[in-house]
Symmetry: C5
C-alpha cells in the first residue's frame, strides 16, 4: 500500500468537507445529480473519444499501481547482480541459467537468458533497450491519459456552470432566485476543480515518479547484465552500479554492507 | 468502425442534452442562429487563414481515420515478415518479388522491391525512413489543425459573448432584460467550450495515438526488411521484432503461436 | 494570390459584422476612436520595444508572403535536378555552368556554381546548410513577431477595458449609465480578441506552413546538388528525391510522368 | 545565510500587510480559520498524493538550502585543482591520496581516489558523470515539487472561494450580507495567490539557480580530475577551467591572482 | 541609443495617458500610493527571493544594453578576419600578435592569442566555445529574470485588487461606494498588466534578439579564427563566413565590396 496516495486523497476530501461545514454550508447543496452527471459524464465521454480501447483498458491497472507501494530496493538489486557476476566469473556464464530460474524479475531473467544463449552484446542491448522503452511508454501513456482528464475536468465543470447559468438567466424574473441558482451552477465548477487538482493531476505525478524509479531499476539491471556478459570484475561492476544510486541511498547501503562485503566479491 | 470515437461523441452530446433538461432548461435557448453563425463561421475562417488549401483538403480524410477502427495486429505483421525471411533464406532474395506481389501493404511492398533490386542497405534505410517521416508528418499536421481549431473554439465563443454583451449593455434601459440577454450571450461560450473539449481536442488525441501505432507498425516492417536483406537468421529477426511489442501483446501472441512455431522457423 | 489567406480574413470579418447586426447590435458602437487608439497603439508600441528595427522592417515583407500563393511544384523541381544530373553525367560537371545560368532559383544556382568550382563536398554542404538555416531563421523570426503580437493583443484589449472600467466606476453615481459604459469598455477586449484569433495567430500559422514547405523544397535541391557532385546515377537520385514527396503528391506525379520517363533518365 | 531569500520573503509580507492597512482594511478579515484550513490543507493533501514519501522527506532539507548562502568560490576551486595537478606532476598521481585526505569536498575526494586507484579514464568519467546527474536530479525534483505546489495554490484558493460563494449564495435572502460574504470567500483566492507568487515559485527559482551553480562547480572539478589523470600541463588545465568562469568572475580572479601566480604553476 | 526601445516605451505610455483622457478619465485616479506600493513592492520582493544577489546585481547592466544600439556590422567583422587571414598567410601566424594588439574585441583577441601560442585546435575550440556558452548563459539569465518579473506583474496586480475588494466588501453598507472602491481596486490590475506587456516582456524579447545577434557575431569570429589556424585560403574563409549572413545583409555587403574585393584577397 502506497499510504501517501490513499492518505492524501482521504485527507483532501476531509479538508473539503470540514471546510464546507466550517463555513456554515449545507453538504446537501454540494451533491447534485445533474451536476455529477454532466461533469463525470463529460470527462468520461471526452476521454473515450480521446483514446482507443486498448489504452483505456490498461488505465485502471495503471492507476492502481499508484496505490501500491513498490519498495524498489536498489541496493538489493545491485547485490543480486554482483552475486550473478561472481557466479559467472567462477563457474562460467552458462551456470547463470540455473541461478536465474528461481528469480521473479522477468526483465532480469530475459536478459540473463539472452547472454546464456550467447547472443551478441549489441543485440542484447538493443532487445533489452527496446523492451525498456516500451515499459516506459506504457507508463507515460497512463500519465498522459490522467493529465488529459485533468485538463477536461475544469472544462466540463465550466460547461456545467454555463448550462446552469443559461437555464437560470433565461427565465430570470424573480431576482431572489438568482443566489440559489448561481450556487447550483457553481457546483460543477467546484467538481471540475477538485477532480483536476486533488485527483487526476496528483495521481499522474505519482505515477510519473514511480515509473521513473522503475525505469532506473531496470536500467541498472541492464547495465549489470551487459557487464556480466563482458566478463568485467565484480568490484568494478559494483562501482558502476553504485553510481546510479543517490548519495543518501548509497550511504545507507554502505553502512549495511560494510560488514559482509569482503566475502562476497572476487 | 472505431466505436470509442463515435460512442464517446454521442454519449457526450447525450450527457449535455440530458443535463440541460435535468436543470429545467429549454433546449430551444441553446440553438441560436446568430450564435452558431459566429462560432462555427469564426473557427472556419480562422482555420482557413491558418492553413493552405492542400492541408485543408486532407483534413476531412485524416479526421475520418479517427472513426475507422484499425486493428493493427502486430503479431500477424511479425509472422508475415518471418515468412518472407524464411523464403529469402531458402530460395534467395529474388524469390521475394513473387511472394510480395499479392500483398496489399504498399510500404512493405516498396521495401521488398528495393532489396530485390539489390539497392544498397544504406539507401534502402534512407528511402524508407524518409517515407516514414512523411507519413508521420502528414498525421502530425492533421492533429495540429485540430488542436488549433480547439484553441480557436473558446476564442470565438468569447468573441460571440462579447458581441452579445456589448449589444445588450449598449441599450440597457430595462434591467429585467438583462437575464435573457446574458443567457443568449453565454450560449456562444458554451458552444466554444464543448467544441474544444468534446470534439476537437479529443479527436486530435485519438489521431495522435493511432498515428503513433501506425508508425510503430511501419518501423517494425522496416526493421524486418533490413534484417532480411542482411540475411539474418529468422529466429533472431523474430527476437528483434518481438521486442517492439509490449509485454502484454507479446504474452497473447506467444500463447497463440506456441503450437505452430517450430514448423514455421528455420 | 493565396486565396485562403485573403478569403479567410474577409469571411471572418463578414461573419463578425453579420453577427453584430443579427443580434440587433449597432455597428457604430463597435467603432470607437479611443478603443482603437489604445489597442492598436499599445500593440504597436510593445512590438517596437520587443524587436530591433532590422526585424520590424522585414515584417511587412514577410507578412505579405502569406498572401502570395507559392505553388512549389516539387515534382518539377525533381525533374529539373534530374535534367542537371543527366547533363553532368553526359557532358561533365563543368557543362552545368551554362545550363544553370538561365535559371532563376538563386539557391540552386549558388549550389551548382559551388560544385562547378570544384569545391569540396563537405564545404558545399556546410555553406548551403548554413544558408538554409538562415532562410528558415528569418521566417521563424517573422512568425515569432506575429505570435508575440497575438499575445499582446488580448493584453492591450484588457488594459483598454480596465481603463474604461476605472473611468466609469470612479464616478458611478447614475446606475443607468453602467450598461453603456461597460459596453464601451468591452469593445477593446473584443478588438484584442479578434486581432489575436482572426489576424495574428492565423497569419503566423500560415507563414509557418509556407516556410516549412520552402525549407523542404530547398532541402531537396541541396540533396540533389550533392548527389550530382557525387556522380550518382540519375535514377537513384530520382528515387532519393521522390522519397521527400508525400505519398499523394507522388501518385499525382507518377501519373503525369509515366509516359515521358524512359527517355529522360539514364 | 542567503539574505535575499529571507529578506525578500519578509519584505513581501510587510508590503502586503502595509498595503492592507493603507487601504483602510482590517487585518483580522484576512486571518480566517476555515480559509487557512482549506488552502493549506488542500495544497498539502494534493502534494502528498503527488509524491512518494522518499521525495517529501527530502523536501524540507532541499528548501532549507535556499536559505543558506553558498559562496561557491570558483576561483578557489580552480586553484585547488591546479595545486593537485602540480603535486601529481612533481610527485606522481599516488601522492594525491595523502593530499586529498584532508579535503572536505566528497565529490573531489571520490574522483581523486578513483584516479589514484588507476581506474580507466572512461570509467572515471562515467562514474563521476552518473553521480553528477543524480545530484542534479535530486535538486530538479525539489524544484518540481515546489512548482507543483505553486500550481496547486491558486487552485485550492479557487476551491475555497467556490465553497464560500456556494455557501453564501445558497441562502442568499439578505442582499446586505453579500458584501462581507464575498470578502470572506475571496480570502482563500488571496492566500493561494501570494503562496504561489511570493513563496513557492520564487523558492523554486532560487533553488534552480543554486543547483545549476553547484552543478557548474562539480563540472569544473570533474574536468580538472580528468585533466590531472591525463597528465596535462597545469597551465593548460588552468586555461581550460578558467573558461568555465564568466568574464566578470575571471576579471576579479585575475586581479587577485596576478601576484602569486608565477610561483604556484610549474 | 537603441531608439526602438526608448521610443516604444514612451509611445506606449503616451497612448495609455491619452486614452485615459480621451475616455474622460481622471489621471489622478490612476496614481495611487497603496497600489504602487503593493504592485512594485511585491514584484521586487518576489524577484529578490527568486534570484541570488550576483544575478540581481547584473540585472541593471543587462537591461541597460536593451537601450544601447549595437550596430554589429557583420560584413566589417568578416573583412577584419579576412585581413588577419591574409596577414597569417603572408607573414605567418606569429605576425598576428602585433596586428591584434590594437583591436578592442576581447573575444577575437583571446582567440588569436591562443593560436599565436600554438595551442591545439581542439583546445582553442573548446576554450572559445565554453566562453561563448557563458556569454550566452549570462544573457539568457537576464532575459529569464525579466520574463519572471513579467509573470509576477499580473499576479501582484491581482493580489492588490483582491486586497482592495476584500477591504471594500467587508464593510459594504453603502452601495454607492461600490463603484469608486472597485475603480481603486482595479488600478493594481492595470499596473500589473501594463508592466508585464509594455515593460518586462518587450524588454526580455529585445534582449533575446540582441543576445542572439551577438552570439552569431562571436560564432563567426570563432569560425574565422579556427580557419586561420588551419591555414585555409582567405577566399574559402570568406565564403564560409558569408554563409552566416542572411541573404539581404549579404546583398548590401556585396554591393559595398564589389569594388575593393580583388585587391584584399589572396
Amino acid at each position: 500500500m502506497e499510504l501517501t496516495t490513499i492518505g492524501g486523497l482521504v485527507a483532501g476530501f476531509v479538508f473539503i468537507v470540514v471546510s464546507i461545514f466550517w463555513g456554515d454550508g449545507d453538504l446537501g447543496g454540494y451533491v447534485d445529480g445533474a451536476s455529477i452527471f454532466i461533469v463525470f459524464g463529460g470527462i468520461a465521454a471526452a476521454t473515450v473519444v480521446s483514446y482507443p480501447l486498448s489504452v483505456l483498458k490498461n488505465l485502471i491497472k495503471i492507476i492502481s499501481t499508484a496505490f501500491k507501494a513498490k519498495n524498489v530496493d536498489l541496493s538489493k538489486e545491485v547485490d543480486n547482480i554482483i552475486d550473478l557476476a561472481n557466479v559467472a566469473r567462477r563457474e562460467g556464464i552458462l551456470a547463470l541459467e540455473e541461478k536465474v530460474s528461481g528469480m521473479d524479475d522477468p526483465f532480469l531473467k530475459k536478459g540473463i537468458m539472452l547472454i546464456v544463449d550467447g547472443s551478441d552484446p549489441e543485440l542484447v542491448r538493443s532487445i533489452m533497450e527496446t523492451e525498456l522503452d516500451f515499459i516506459s511508454e506504457r507508463h507515460t501513456m497512463g500519465q498522459a491519459v490522467l493529465l488529459q482528464m485533468s485538463a477536461y475536468s475544469p472544462a466540463f465543470g465550466m460547461i456545467g456552470t454555463l448550462i446552469g447559468l443559461i437555464n437560470m438567466l433565461a427565465k430570470l424574473d424573480d431576482p431572489s432566485a438568482l443566489g440559489p441558482g448561481m450556487a447550483t451552477a457553481l457546483v460543477t465548477t467546484f467538481y471540475g476543480s477538485f477532480l483536476a487538482n486533488l485527483v487526476f493531476t496528483p495521481l499522474a505525478k505519482k505515477l510519473g515518479i514511480m515509473s521513473s524509479e522503475e525505469y532506473l531499476h531496470k536500467e541498472i539491471t541492464l547495465e549489470g547484465i551487459l557487464s556480466i556478459q563482458d566478463g568485467e570484475n565484480p568490484r568494478i561492476i559494483r562501482e558502476k552500479l553504485n553510481a546510479f544510486m543517490s548519495q543518501s541511498q548509497l550511504r545507507q547501503y554502505e553502512q549495511k554492507n560494510s560488514a559482509g562485503e569482503a566475502a562476497g566479491d572476487e
